[in-house]
């Protein structure tokens, strides 16, 4: 386990573009804090975003988990290119000849995925804790550590997404095409949903079927936090809109995403085992 971690870490740290991307990713995660600096002064109206309650405990967990997840593509690029490069440089072949088993090879990549997701979650936790303690109106321990399931959801969302990327990198063997395919897949899910809504027979609930799609399941895991803001709610009520969007982490979404992660793991493993190098 330690050996596999160091093997992957050696590969990663020697690669300059990966170092830059990982560095950029964590700088961007920290930049969530910059939202706090958004202030408008329009005549008598003084607007300070940080004062609008977005950094209130426990809401800050949800808000930051949602915003932080937007940057995950940076790490996805690293994972896809590190995997695809193993094929284009044929170093996977050399690794196997040197005595790494295919299972160990896959596990070293998965350790990278879990480490990335873990560090990123920890990062979000620390950033949120700091922002919360600076701006939150509530500072009771019970409230601070409420709703931490958003961080668990964040972690699982990253793991599943990276697992999908690892599978695509392995299957397609070219980083650009693999990332392109990710985009195409996103569109494919959208089109499927459209078709389901439009054409499916009445006994099929399009929304429930759509929940099963991998990228959609990942995005459902940490639902959008904006409709929870009182400012947004008030605005909606004024225009006569009733907000009914889901904003909590749902048990079944966790299960669906876990199943997808396992499916991607198995598919990658099967591919590695079957393919001649």
């Amino acid at each position: 386990m330690k050996r596999l971690f160091w093997i992957e870490f050696d590969k990663l740290r020697a690669n300059r573009s990966s170092r830059i991307l990982v560095g950029a990713y964590f700088i961007l995660l920290t930049s969530i804090a910059l939202i706090a600096a958004i202030k408008f002064n329009i005549g008598f109206i003084k607007f300070h975003l940080a004062e609008q309650g977005i950094f209130n405990f426990p809401y800050v967990w949800h808000f930051n988990a949602f915003i932080g997840a937007l940057f995950k593509i940076f790490l996805a690029v690293v994972i896809v290119s590190m995997t695809a490069n193993e094929y284009s440089n044929k170093t996977i072949k050399q690794n196997l000849i040197d005595g790494l088993s295919k299972r160990e090879f896959l596990h070293s990549k998965w350790i990278m995925i879990l480490t990335f997701a873990g560090i990123s979650t920890l990062f979000i936790f620390v950033v949120s804790l700091i922002l919360g303690s600076m701006y939150s109106n509530y500072t009771e321990i019970g409230i601070i550590f409420k709703d931490l399931e958003y961080l668990l959801a964040y972690f699982l969302k990253l793991v599943a997404f990276f697992a999908f990327c690892l599978f695509l990198g392995t299957a397609i063997k070219r980083s650009a095409f693999a990332l392109g395919f990710l985009g195409v897949w996103q569109m494919f899910e959208g089109i499927c949903f459209g078709l389901l809504k439009w054409k499916s027979p009445s006994w099929i609930d399009a929304d429930q079927v759509f929940r099963l799609f991998p990228l959609n399941a990942m995005s459902n895991l940490v639902p959008e936090p904006f409709t929870r803001l009182s400012a947004v709610r008030n605005l909606a009520e004024q225009v006569g809109e009733v907000m009914q969007n889901n904003t909590v982490v749902r048990f079944w979404d966790i299960i669906i995403v876990l199943i997808w992660s396992y499916i991607f793991y198995l598919l990658t493993y099967r591919l590695l085992m079957r393919r001649d190098l």
Binding site: I7, I97, S101, D276, L277
Partner: protein, 300 residues
């Protein structure tokens, strides 16, 4: 002698093409083996299978009497397959450190092996800056990191310039002299003849010879002769008791003896019969000629 590798009825099919067909052989400790065969005869596929990168269609192989599974066994093996494959953005030392981690051997050997292949002064340069010859030498250093019990080389001199070929051959000879078992695949016959004690000859994925190189090349040899009177020489040779058959090649007469006779014996008997020899040479068939006749026989 202990067995390093045992291959039984190994077969690989790519669609309709059978790349390796029911191949069996055994590698014993201490010998230097050559795998010979034209391009596409299944050499690399065979090595790919025993090295865990190509899945066999059928058949089995076992390393070190089957006491370990393949990937554990490969940690005791050193192998270079075709082109050297390293991380281009890593330095030589970083690449070797990674191999040490995979093979679970101490990193203290890195300097020593780089020294052996004459790359110590370039150890902190990235792999992508290396010339092909240097890459190939780094591959050898990497394969030797674990002081392997067997070294497997697939076309190690392919694409190198004459100097590079000489360097790589020198390294291989040095390693062979230390008693390391070597398995060398090549289509260059003189390469195999120069370093190998045993040879496996493949054609279209089938084994057509497996045994000692000497058994393949040693026969009674033949004589290459010329004389001032060619017809007389021809007549005498045809009647000679020890000569099996004669052949005329260009301006020479080739005489094939039916037993091992010395050059002195033959030239004495010829001069006793008044033949003036202008050219006399005793020759053995080279591995190349043996190989060609072997593969030709198989085609019939």
């Amino acid at each position: 002698m202990s067995t390093i590798l045992n291959v039984t009825n190994l077969t690989k099919k790519f669609g309709r093409l059978t790349a390796v067909n029911e191949l069996s052989f055994t590698i014993e400790k201490g010998n230097v083996y050559g795998i010979l065969g034209p391009n596409g005869s299944g050499k690399s596929t065979t090595l790919g299978m025993i090295l865990n990168v190509v899945n066999p269609t059928s058949g089995t192989f076992s390393w070190f009497d089957g006491t370990q599974n393949t990937h554990q066994a490969l940690k005791r093996v050193g192998a270079i397959i075709e082109r050297p494959n390293f991380y281009p953005y890593m330095t030589a030392a970083e690449n070797l450190r990674l191999v040490c981690r995979i093979k679970e051997v101490p990193q203290s050997k890195i300097e020593e092996k780089l020294e052996l292949v004459d790359l110590l002064d370039r150890k902190n340069d990235t792999f992508k800056t290396y010339s092909l010859g240097m890459k190939q030498r780094l591959a050898i250093a990497s394969a030797l990191l674990n002081d392997p019990e067997i070294l497997i080389l697939d076309e190690p001199t392919n694409g190198l310039d004459p100097q590079g070929i000489a360097q790589v051959r020198g390294i291989i000879k040095k390693i062979a002299a230390q008693g390391t078992t070597i398995l060398l695949a090549s289509h260059l016959l003189d390469e195999v003849e120069k370093v190998c004690s045993h040879v496996l000859v493949l054609q279209k994925g089938k084994r057509i010879y497996f045994g000692k190189v000497t058994a393949l090349t040693t026969d009674h040899g033949y004589f290459e002769l010329n004389s001032t009177d060619v017809t007389a020489l021809q007549n005498i040779l045809e009647k000679h008791n020890d000569i099996d058959k004669i052949e005329i090649l260009d301006s020479y007469i080739l005489a094939y003896p039916n037993k091992t006779i010395s050059a002195a014996e033959l030239s004495k008997s010829l001069s006793e019969q008044g033949i003036i020899i202008t050219h006399f040479a005793q020759k053995h068939k080279s591995l190349e000629e043996q190989f060609l006749s072997l593969t030709k026989n198989q085609q019939l």
